[in-house]
């Protein structure tokens, strides 16, 4: 290694792996329930009422999705940032890009939480 890793990059390297392991669990569950095992010939197409019924079937779905969203947003944006960091941006450009990523991350999380709130129903 020629370069010395900063504490921040060690932390993001570690968090990327931890969030990745958690996402493996989250995504297998999410894909199975909402994509693969949704049998269109039995349940028909996905609609609002059906999604609400699924999400209201257990408190665990609320906990599951509230936990899922921050991890997936972090993993996606941090992964993207790692690719950009490889290009060794000038200091000003790096700060600018980081700011964009933070804003995008906050917008995504707020939008997702508002969406989930409406899908959960009952002021969740």
């Amino acid at each position: 290694m020629v370069e010395r890793a900063s504490n921040q990059s060690v932390l993001t390297w570690f968090l990327q792996r931890i969030s990745g392991i958690l996402l493996a669990f989250f995504l297998i569950t999410h894909l199975n329930v909402h994509h693969l095992f949704h049998d269109i010939t039995v349940s028909g197409i996905i609609n609002f009422a059906g999604v609400r019924e699924n999400l209201q079937s257990s408190i665990w779905w609320k906990i599951y999705y509230i936990a899922f969203v921050p991890f997936v947003v972090f993993h996606a944006l941090n992964g993207f940032w790692q690719i950009i960091a490889d290009f060794r941006l000038k200091a000003g450009a790096a700060v600018f890009m980081k700011a964009i990523f933070w804003i995008l991350g906050i917008i995504l999380i707020v939008t997702a939480i508002m969406t989930l709130g409406n899908l959960f129903g009952g002021g969740a």
Partner: protein
Amino acid sequence: MMAKESKLQGMVRDANLNKNIGNFSYWIHRITGIGLSVYLLMHTFVLSSAISGPEAFNERMGTVQNPFFAILEVLLIAGVFMHMLNGLRITITDFFNWSRGHKILFWIAAVIFVILMIVAIKLQWPKFFIENYGMGGH
């Protein structure tokens, strides 16, 4: 004297010079990672219609539930499984200091990927036919 090359040109040159499993999986991971991040944005956009109420949600969800999107969904699922399996391979080699085993892990991941995709396509199959979209349930 060699002309100064961009980072991207360097990465492509490196991939050409090192046609091996490590380099291949590095590119797979980056390409699927970018694809999945873009999908996350689109997924959030489609689902966020729920904020405007059930009608808006049903209308927007209706536009993405057809055989064309079902085929795209297979690509999405392939991207998720590739990224997931390769990510777990990277994590195992990192956390257990097992870079010597990265090639065997790649082939184990490849076999699991093929099995998962056969199951996924089988489950997805009814969605490839427009006549199965007639029902209005959920």
